[in-house]
């Protein structure tokens, strides 16, 4: 009986496939909770670390994820072999990745990482790496999640994670700040970050003298290339691992980290405007129609407490913020980085702090990728919303991205959530603008067809015209899967 229960427990244990690089620990999930198994060495570190005042302060302030030693026998029994201890972490509402963050988010995450490292160094500890994947978002606040990254500072060492930190944080930030290169495609295709030598190809001679570039990018690339050539000339297959070229002191590493932190804090993006960044002043609504739209959304959103709401095509987040009072967590997604960054900066001064803004092309959401396509999960597999706002998005998906209307609605239906959807009709000036240069005028993009497809998958619980009938807004409840299959047939 006990054995059977043990086997059942093991079946309920889901490993986190992105947690394998550091052999000293593994993250896994069990009955909706997050755990981390530790090797004997990591467990010894943890027992020292949890007694330090600086670490307790970091947890209390929310800078580091809440963590406790797990003592329940049914959980500790899940791990065997090299694992000496199990930790339980406070769950993060939605896992996001650096290639979904804006410039401001990446900058704040970098700053927090350096701040945690600075405090660790001040108290005789260090961080063994510098990965952007060690940070997550609790609403609009970054949080450092990898407690096994803390280790006692060893006299003579510098910061091992410096190169990784440069590749994942500093170089992308410099490229965005000085060259306005989009972070999302760059970091989505380079999961380990941007190599300094590769980044050198993006910058001009003038850029070398801009803040942070000479040291962390130019000199870094040159030294790396030179060291690579020097190593290639030395034929020593049994050579010992590389050693720190200069005996470092904790003071030197601490001052270096503080200087990088100051540099990161001063980085600013280039000023500019995109099609959607000033949406609140340039949208096509008059005050009355906008009030009607807000009224409709609010009426259906405030009816209950939502666990997780997605605002797909959120722009500068007017409706995501409206939802935030009625939901535990809100994920606001848009493909316009500046619009999302504008939202992020606005959110930083607001409460409730439960909105996480993300940058993503909705016609090409983040896929499964990394080692065996399992290391970083697709956007579709990461969250389970019970409410979706999909306002004035459908015409972009159907007309601009040429996604069939049926496919698009099936995608929305696949979340099995209630949906507030705004259909932008074919006579609306925004639709006409999208159709202007297209030979295919999408004759099947009609209100009647939309309603027919929507009705096959959802119950249309409420509907209202907007902008004198050129748009319509709907509150849709998903039909049970069998019913929607019958309607479709």
């Amino acid at each position: 009986m006990t054995r059977r229960r043990g086997e059942q427990n093991l079946k309920d244990m889901t490993p986190e496939h992105g947690s394998f690089r550091d052999a000293n620990n593994r993250v896994f999930y069990h009955h909706g909770e997050v755990f981390r198994s530790l090797s004997a060495e990591a467990a010894a570190n943890w027992h020292q670390l949890r007694q330090t005042a600086f670490f307790r302060r970091l947890m209390e302030s929310g800078a580091v994820v809440g963590t406790e030693t797990e003592s329940r026998a049914d959980v500790t029994a899940l791990v065997s072999g090299p694992w000496a201890a199990v930790l339980r972490h406070e769950p993060i509402p939605f896992i996001s990745y650096p290639y979904e963050w804006t410039f401001g988010m990446l900058k704040d995450a970098a700053w927090l990482h350096l701040d945690v490292l600075e405090q660790a160094l001040e108290h005789g500890w260090t961080l063994k790496d510098g990965s952007a994947y060690n940070l997550q978002w609790r609403g609009q606040r970054p949080v450092f999640i990898d407690v096994s990254s803390f280790e006692p500072y060893r006299d003579g060492d510098s910061w091992t994670g410096y190169r990784q930190f440069c590749m994942m944080f500093i170089i992308p930030l410099l490229l965005k700040a000085h060259r306005d290169i989009q972070l999302a495609p760059l970091l989505r295709s380079n999961l380990e970050g941007v190599d300094p030598e590769e980044a050198l190809k993006f910058i001009s001679v003038r850029d070398i003298f801009r803040r942070g570039v000479f040291t962390h990018l130019y000199l870094h690339a040159r030294l790396q290339a030179r060291a690579g050539r020097a190593e290639a000339r030395t034929s020593a297959p049994d050579a010992a691992p590389a050693k720190w070229p200069v005996r470092q002191t904790r003071e030197m590493t601490l001052r270096m980290v503080q200087s990088i932190k100051r540099m990161v804090a001063k980085l600013e993006r280039r000023r500019g405007e995109t099609a959607w960044s000033a949406y609140e002043t340039t949208h096509s609504y008059d005050d009355v129609s906008l009030a009607e739209k807000k009224g409709f959304v609010e009426r259906h959103v405030r009816g209950r407490r939502w666990r997780m709401a997605y605002d797909l095509g959120s722009n500068t987040g007017t409706f995501a913020r409206l939802c935030s009072e009625h939901a535990d967590h809100v994920i606001a997604v848009d493909e316009d980085e500046l619009a999302v960054d504008t939202l992020y900066h606005r959110l930083k001064t607001e409460t409730p702090d439960n909105v996480t803004p993300l940058v993503m092309q909705l016609s090409n959401v983040s896929p499964d990728q990394g080692w065996r396509g399992r290391e970083r999960k697709s956007f579709d597999d990461r969250g389970k919303p019970d409410l979706i706002l999909c306002l004035a998005l459908i015409h972009h998906m159907v007309i601009t991205a040429n996604i069939p209307m049926q496919d698009f609605l099936q995608w929305i239906r696949s979340y099995d959530a209630a949906v507030v959807l705004e259909f932008v009709g074919p006579e609306d000036e925004m639709t006409l603008r999208l159709l202007k240069n297209k030979r295919n005028k999408h004759p099947d993009y009609t209100l009647a067809r939309f309603e027919s497809i929507a009705a096959s998958m959802f119950d249309i619980a409420d509907k209202a015209p907007l902008k004198e009938g050129r748009r319509h807004i709907y509150f849709l409840q998903p039909k049970p899967a069998s019913a929607s299959a019958q309607s479709a047939a």
């Binding site: 550091d22 690579g228 005996r247 001052r255």
Partner: protein
């Protein structure tokens, strides 16, 4: 590969630095990269030196500030 004087000098500098003042090897799971290790060494020295010099600078300027403050106080007292 051609051994230019520049290359020889560079290898000597790098090798010398590695040989002369090295510590025990890093056992972390990450490869810190030889070039990056050299850079962190340079940055560490620069940051620590700048910090120390700034400290001295503040101490020196504090002397003048103190003098000015005292002079100001005296001036204030005379005025009263």
């Amino acid at each position: 590969m051609t051994e230019t004087p520049k290359n020889v000098a560079w290898t000597a500098l790098l090798g010398g630095a590695f040989y002369l003042i090295s510590t025990c090897p890093s056992l972390a799971y990450l490869d810190p990269g030889s070039g990056s290790m050299l850079l962190t060494a340079i940055l560490g020295i620069l940051a620590a030196t700048t910090y120390t010099l700034k400290g001295y600078f503040h101490k020196v300027t504090a002397l003048f500030r103190k003098n000015r403050l005292e002079a100001g106080d005296r001036a204030g007292q005379t005025k009263d």
